[in-house]
């Protein structure tokens, strides 16, 4: 069995199965087809792909192409591109690393997850389809089949970018039989009424509601419904069954989600129901009911509907058509879909039941023929109390359509596909609505948004770049050394496997505790080409290491001083970073704009240690991640590397690759893979934000690490934002060669050392009303630190030490329990005072004498340096003066070495014996001062 041939390897020819399109969407100007045939050059046999089939889609990783189910085929408006709408499945290796543990078990190598996320473009170029594949649904409790064949993948769970859920079998069940789609003779080909897409099309062609078009749309939908309803008659039982199941499960999940009440849920369902409908022959009503189910519970969508002022006449028209459509479907169906709906409402929305009914009616009628977003909003059920920023929302989607209309740039194809796509239309719209920006600024944004959102799913698919599985056909198109690398890695893997078994056995016999391997840190890179049968699921190699957990719990702070100390510890993360608002805003704006635009860029941040550079960036990322969680901005991925935390600059590649795709590689290989990744225009991608801390340590002679880091963001498809941090302001000028510095650009920011007021504010905000310090004491600390370095860490450490000193002296009667000036003074003394003078005072008599001899010898020579021999002569003389017994040369040397060891003296290598030269490491005045006090 050879691997999947990518397009680069083998030429594939794609044709529509039947030349004649099955249907034509007049508004969208697209033709729909019922099958696609793929013939491979030089190989007999033609693969036919029908909607409902599962296919492999070319991605970044040739070993693990993306998996998806075809929903329908069409061509784009230019009739040149073959497009397909798909439902994605996500592989284990495509999951973000941090989420992998959510699964709670090790995955089957052939396991995929039903993707319920919304950050991926559901529309793909049909020519990226590689081949068909079998996807089999297995109940969550059932085991995986014993002998998996390579071409079958298994799905148990669904993944909605946050959690794994048991997959509703209804979603898979009926799609398992790849039934050819029902003939669609009507000009409206979509089984499910694609509200948003219709809307968007209409919006584009008719910016103002045109009664003619409205009427036509109104009449068209009932006709279609009739058709599908008629079809329902034949397989009514089945579809009703499935619909019931579906809506029941929906209700369940809706309940679950009701608590969090976020829009993604709605979107997912929308998408789901839409995608599921063609096969099921569900009526528009059903779909809408479900939509409504979701929408009612979701405050956001409700909020949209609130404050649009609906034109009366339009609404009327909708209710008319509602009636007509409401009459047509079989009553049974109506009931089935209605019941869960009302239950739902009952539980989740505070509005009265009657209201719900009417609103549902309205919704049912309106949705199919929404012509414009305003209308859409107007017609949706109203429920006050959930209004969030509705004004903006109202305005934004409109703009989008305008821009969509105008779009003539190369991105047009993508853009327009978004418009056409029913589910995505809604997505894009909602997203645009959610964005917090001002409506005026939205014109380019909203367009970008939709495009971005569509593409932001890319990351999920981007994992595992390496190892082509196909050795025989290798043509070294990407990495010259790939073949070699890969084959060696393969051998290595086999060895490792063997070694692992061995190891496990050995360990077991030793009776040690083996940590249950939680996740495979190394992604299973099995290459199916050589082995006829796929390898058994390997035991993951290295578990995530951890410090054992403590047997007894940590004690909580007991009194105010302990509490203060805990808060003052540098590690305790404050809620917000005071005194860095401006810097925070600048970085935030920079990153946000790049993430929004889907472009890349570099930023250089400098500042002395302890001025909050890294903390501010982390804060920014936290905020942005929060924003992306509530869908204000597209999701992005944050990666952090630190020059100090790697052993060699080239390890940067390895670490980036590992954090990005969770895969291990050598530095060279990783560099090649990253290069490929950032220069490819992969179909699914989201912005990566890379933080490079301690940049100066990535310096190499040729500076290629830095060069690459700054060059990638400039690539067109990279979508990489690089934030770099170092200490010196002029680092680019000092150590970078021109081409590197030029790529870094001029977006720079420097963090000034904190002033004493800022330091004071930092401490105060950290203490957060815990009264442990006297005001004066705080001021003293902050002034002292500001004068010396402006290092916030130092400031906090001193405060912490002061609390300790205070605690120790708490038994004294004079203490007030607060940290006062005296305590702070003591702490400052401890930390800042030089210990040389104390050390001299505490030295033994001979050592002091030796220092004096040095001073005398220096004075005699007029130099700051003398050999031991010379000094020792003076020393002997001094001994006699002081009335001490002279010491031998050996003892003298020992004295000298002792002083040298604590660096009061600087000595040459002791091999030179009496000839070694001696210098003082303290000023002569200090020595004199220390010795004089001693004699008093």
């Amino acid at each position: 069995m050879v691997g999947y041939f990518t397009r680069l390897r083998v030429r594939r020819v794609y044709r529509w199965g039947r030349r004649q399109p099955t249907s034509f969407h007049r508004k969208l100007n697209t033709f729909y087809f019922d099958s696609l045939t793929i013939s491979v050059d030089g190989q007999p046999g033609i693969t036919t792909v029908n909607p409902g089939d599962y296919v492999l889609i070319e991605g970044d990783d040739d070993d693990y192409p993306f998996v998806a189910k075809i929903l329908e085929f069409f061509n784009d408006e230019t009739h040149n591109q073959k497009m397909a709408q798909v439902q994605w499945f996500i592989r284990w290796c495509e999951l973000p690393h941090k989420n992998k543990k959510l699964l709670g078990r090790s995955p089957h190598p052939h396991e995929v997850f039903y993707y319920l996320g919304h950050s991926c473009d559901n529309e793909i170029n049909a020519e990226s389809i590689l081949s068909t594949v079998q996807v089999q649904h297995i109940p969550a409790s059932a085991p995986f089949p014993e002998s998996p064949t390579r071409d079958t993948l298994y799905v148990k769970l669904s993944w909605d970018t946050k959690t794994f859920k048991e997959l509703d079998p209804a979603l898979m069940q009926d799609t398992l039989v790849p039934a050819s789609p029902p003939p669609r003779p009507k000009p409206f080909p979509h089984c499910s009424p694609p509200t948003a897409s219709l809307l968007s099309r209409a919006g584009r062609s008719l910016p103002t509601p045109d009664p003619m078009v409205m009427r036509r749309a109104g009449s068209a939908v009932p006709a279609r419904v009739t058709m599908s309803a008629g079809k329902m008659g034949t397989n009514e039982a089945e579809s009703v069954h499935s619909a019931a199941k579906l809506s029941a499960s929906k209700t369940l999940s809706a309940k679950r989600r009701g608590r969090t009440a976020v829009t993604p849920g709605v979107r997912k369902k929308l998408q789901l129901s839409l995608s599921a409908s063609p096969e099921k022959g569900m009526t528009g009503e059903e779909v809408l009911c479900e939509l409504l189910d979701e929408e009612v519970e979701s405050e956001k969508v409700l909020a949209i509907k609130l404050n649009s002022s609906p034109p009366r006449s339009l609404q009327h028209g909708y209710s008319l058509c509602n009636m007509s459509s409401g009459r047509k479907p079989p009553s049974l169906l109506g009931q089935v879909s209605l019941t869960p709906y009302s239950i739902n409402l009952d539980r989740l929305s505070p509005s009265a039941l009657g209201e719900q009914d009417s609103s549902r009616d309205m919704m049912l009628g309106v949705a199919p023929l929404l012509l414009e977003d305003e209308v859409f909003e107007a017609a949706l059920p109203t429920d006050t109390g959930f209004a969030n920023t509705p004004k903006k929302r109202q305005a934004t989607p409109r703009r989008k359509y305008f821009t969509g209309q105008k779009a003539t740039t190369p991105s047009r194809r993508k853009d327009s596909s978004v418009m056409r796509e029913p589910a995505l239309g809604v997505l894009a719209e909602e997203d645009a609505e959610n964005s917090p920006m001002q409506p005026v600024a939205m014109t380019p944004r909203s367009k970008r948004k939709s495009a971005q959102l569509v593409a932001s799913r890319i990351r999920k698919q981007l994992d595992l770049l390496d190892s082509t599985q196909d050795l025989s056909d290798e043509d070294d198109c990407y990495v010259p050394s790939k073949k070699q690398l890969q084959s060696s890695s393969e051998e290595e893997m086999e060895e490792e496997e063997a070694a692992e078994c061995e190891e496990t056995r050995v360990r077991k016999t030793r009776g040690r505790i083996i940590k249950a391997p939680a996740t495979p840190a190394r992604t299973p890179r099995k290459t199916p080409s050589k082995k006829a049968t796929p390898s058994t699921p390997r035991t993951p190699r290295d578990a995530i290491p951890s410090i054992p957990s403590r047997t007894l719990p940590a004690r909580q702070p007991g009194n105010i001083l302990e509490e203060a100390r805990a808060r003052l510890h540098v590690s305790s993360v404050p809620e917000s970073l005071p005194c860095r608002e401006q810097e925070f805003q600048d970085i935030y704006n920079f990153v946000e704009s790049k993430v929004m635009d889907g472009t890349g860029g570099c930023m250089y941040i400098s500042g002395v240690p302890g001025t909050g550079k890294t903390a501010t960036v982390h804060e920014v990322i936290r905020c942005l991640q929060h924003a992306s969680d509530i869908d204000e901005i597209p999701t992005f991925r944050f990666i952090e590397i630190n020059g100090m935390k790697m052993t060699d600059p080239h390890q940067a590649y390895v670490q980036i690759l590992q954090k990005l795709t969770d895969q291990k590689a050598t530095a060279d290989h990783a560099a090649a893979l990253l290069e490929k990744r950032f220069s490819n225009s992969a179909p699914r991608k989201e912005t990566t934000v890379l933080l490079v801390d301690e940049l100066d340590l990535l310096w190499t002679r040729k500076q290629n690490v830095m060069y690459n880091l700054f060059d990638w963001p400039t690539r067109r498809h990279a979508r990489l934002v690089v934030l770099t941090i170092a200490n010196t302001m002029d680092l680019p000028e000092r150590i970078m060669i021109n081409r590197v510095a030029s790529r870094l650009g001029l977006t720079r920011m420097s963090f000034q050392p904190y002033s004493f007021k800022q330091l004071q504010q930092i401490i105060t905000s950290r203490l957060n009303k815990v009264k442990a310090f006297e005001e004066d004491a705080l001021q003293l600390v902050s002034r002292k630190v500001a004068a010396l370095s402006g290092d916030a860490r130092r400031c906090l450490d001193i405060c912490r030490r002061a609390t300790e000193i205070c605690e120790h002296s708490a038994s004294l009667p004079s203490s007030t329990g607060l940290v006062g000036m005296s305590h702070v003074m003591e702490a400052l003394d401890e930390m800042f005072s030089s210990s040389y003078i104390t050390a001299i005072r505490c030295a033994s008599v001979q050592e002091q004498l030796f220092l004096r001899a040095i001073l005398a010898e220096f004075r005699r020579l007029g130099l700051e340096e003398a050999t031991f021999q010379q000094v020792f002569v003076q020393h002997q003389a001094l001994c006699r003066v002081e009335g001490l017994q002279p010491i031998s040369t050996s003892e003298g040397l020992a004295v000298c070495q002792r002083l040298g060891a604590c660096r009061l003296l600087l000595l040459e290598s002791s091999r030179l014996d009496v000839l070694q030269r001696v210098r003082l490491n303290v000023s002569q005045d200090d020595v004199l001062y220390a010795l004089k006090v001693d004699r008093d």
């Binding site: 692992e500 290295d542 578990a543 995530i544 290491p545 951890s546 410090i547 054992p548 957990s549 403590r550 047997t551 007894l552 719990p553 940590a554 004690r555 909580q556 805990a566 540098v570 590690s571 993360v573 240690p609 302890g610 100090m644 935390k645 790697m646 052993t647 670490q655 301690e694 200490n727 860490r793 450490d797 912490r800 300790e804 120790h808 401890e830 930390m831 210990s835 104390t838 050390a839 005072r841 505490c842 008599v845 001979q846 050592e847 021999q869 002997q876 001490l884 017994q885 010491i887 031998s888 040369t889 050996s890 003892e891 004295v895 002792r898 604590c902 660096r903 014996d913 009496v914 000839l915």
Partner: protein, 434 residues
């Protein structure tokens, strides 16, 4: 019963002596921890509190213990750990990692050692240890996984801390101190060093992450205390089997320390160094002279020990030289006097020696030049003379510049003690100019 007791209390002198030797040797050589560290109570308390907070509250800390050699840094730390581990709450929780700057000479070795001591290698198998980079990433990952309240606190004890500062980029220190300043597994980094300027060795980023806590161990021990310490060090414990003997012994020690000569010896020792290690050296030499025939320490024993301790190693070496070699040394000394310490070569020494032979010598045999050369080389091997240039390859042996590593006094002293030194050689040495 009483009989047995009587038997027990009356051990033979030999048995008692051997018992004394065992107890005291253990004390001096094995560096037994004292009951309580002397003269560093505040430091003891500070360190104990600090480590307790890490162990109990999970608060990360970093501290340096600074003091000259022999000032009791390790002893202090060990005493603190001993007391800390008596608390069961601590004992069950704390992990310790001991590193030594002289053993872990680079970060790669140090990382392996840390992983080994934390018993993390059974998680990974032995393959990971192939790569330094992976190892670092692995350890950081492990530490990052932890958090303040759930992970066991780890004490990282870095002996000879200053040597770690010489590692490339100070990667290990940066990472350890960074962990101690961030919300990861609670760790305490304890550095022991004798360098007072250790903070200047740290790179600015590493320095910023260090908490700047230093515990200074600078003993300001007075001579009285020093003397008390000597008595307690030599004294026998209460539970010594033969009470009568131990009382006698302790009395004799007290009397010994009141002796004038002994006081002078101890004063000299105290003047030269206050640390207890050199004192132990002196006492062990004294102790070794105690025998059945000499059942208590006499002042003479201590004087002898002091003489041995304070002996000049070079002077001792001079006693073993042949007459010819000694003559060469004297010739070199004269050259040093004439040219004021400028380096000389073999030819100059040879000429000087020849002059002496021709003019003054009666007893010294007229050696051939190769023999003299051989003697000269022997001196060089003993490092009594030292070649000035680093590379000696180019220059002919006779003309290599050399320097005498001896003092004028050392030579003269040696001549006094040299057995059967010919008088003409002595006179030659004493005469001002050759």
């Amino acid at each position: 019963m009483s009989k047995r007791k009587a038997k027990k209390t009356h051990m033979t002198v030999g048995a008692c002596i051997s018992q004394v030797q065992t107890i005291l040797r253990e004390r001096f050589c094995h560096q037994m921890l004292p009951e309580k560290p002397v003269g560093m109570e505040s430091q003891y308390k500070h360190l104990l509190e600090l480590l307790k907070r890490t162990a109990v509250h999970g608060e990360s800390n970093s501290v340096l213990i600074v003091g000259p050699r022999g000032s009791g840094k390790t002893m202090l730390l060990k005493c603190v750990l001993r007391e800390l581990l008596e608390v069961t709450e601590v004992k069950k929780n704390v992990l310790q990692v001991h590193l030594h700057g002289l053993l872990q000479t680079d970060d790669r070795i140090a990382l392996k050692e840390i992983t080994r001591q934390l018993n993390l290698e059974n998680v990974v198998g032995d393959k990971v240890f192939g790569s330094f980079a992976e190892n670092l990433a692995f350890l950081l990952e492990a530490l990052k996984k932890g958090d303040r309240s759930n992970s066991r606190p780890v004490f990282f004890i870095l002996d000879e801390f200053d040597l770690f500062a010489h590692h490339k980029n100070q990667t290990l220190l940066y990472n350890l101190l960074d962990v101690s300043q961030s919300a990861q597994a609670p760790i305490a980094v304890i550095g022991l060093t004798c360098r007072l300027d250790v903070l200047e060795l740290l790179e600015k980023r590493v320095k910023s992450r260090f908490s700047h806590r230093q515990i200074q161990l600078l003993s300001s021990l007075s001579f009285g205390k020093y003397l008390d310490n000597v008595i307690s060090q030599l004294g026998l414990p209460q539970d010594f089997p033969d009470t009568k003997f131990s009382e006698e012994w302790n009395d004799s020690i007290k009397r010994l320390c009141e002796d004038k000569a002994v006081m002078a010896v101890l004063q000299k020792q105290y003047n030269s160094s206050k640390d207890f290690r050199s004192l132990h050296m002196l006492l062990i030499l004294t102790l070794s002279q105690v025998s059945v025939s000499n059942p208590s320490i006499k002042p003479a024993d201590l004087l002898e020990a002091s003489r041995v301790c304070g002996a000049d190693s070079k002077a001792n070496m001079l006693h073993g030289l042949s007459i010819l070699e000694l003559c060469l040394i004297i010739a070199m000394k004269h050259l040093n006097d004439i040219y004021d310490g400028e380096p000389f070569n073999f030819q100059m020494v040879y000429n000087e020696f020849k002059k002496f032979l021709q003019r003054k010598s009666h007893s010294i045999y007229n050696f051939d030049k190769p023999v003299i050369m051989k003697a000269f080389e022997h001196l060089q091997q003993l490092e009594l003379i030292r070649s000035m240039e680093g590379s000696t390859a180019n220059i002919q042996k006779d003309y290599q510049l050399m320097k005498l590593m001896l003092d004028h006094n050392q030579v003269m002293e040696c001549l006094q003690k040299y057995p059967q030194c010919p008088t003409d050689v002595k006179q030659w040495a004493m005469s001002a100019f050759g």
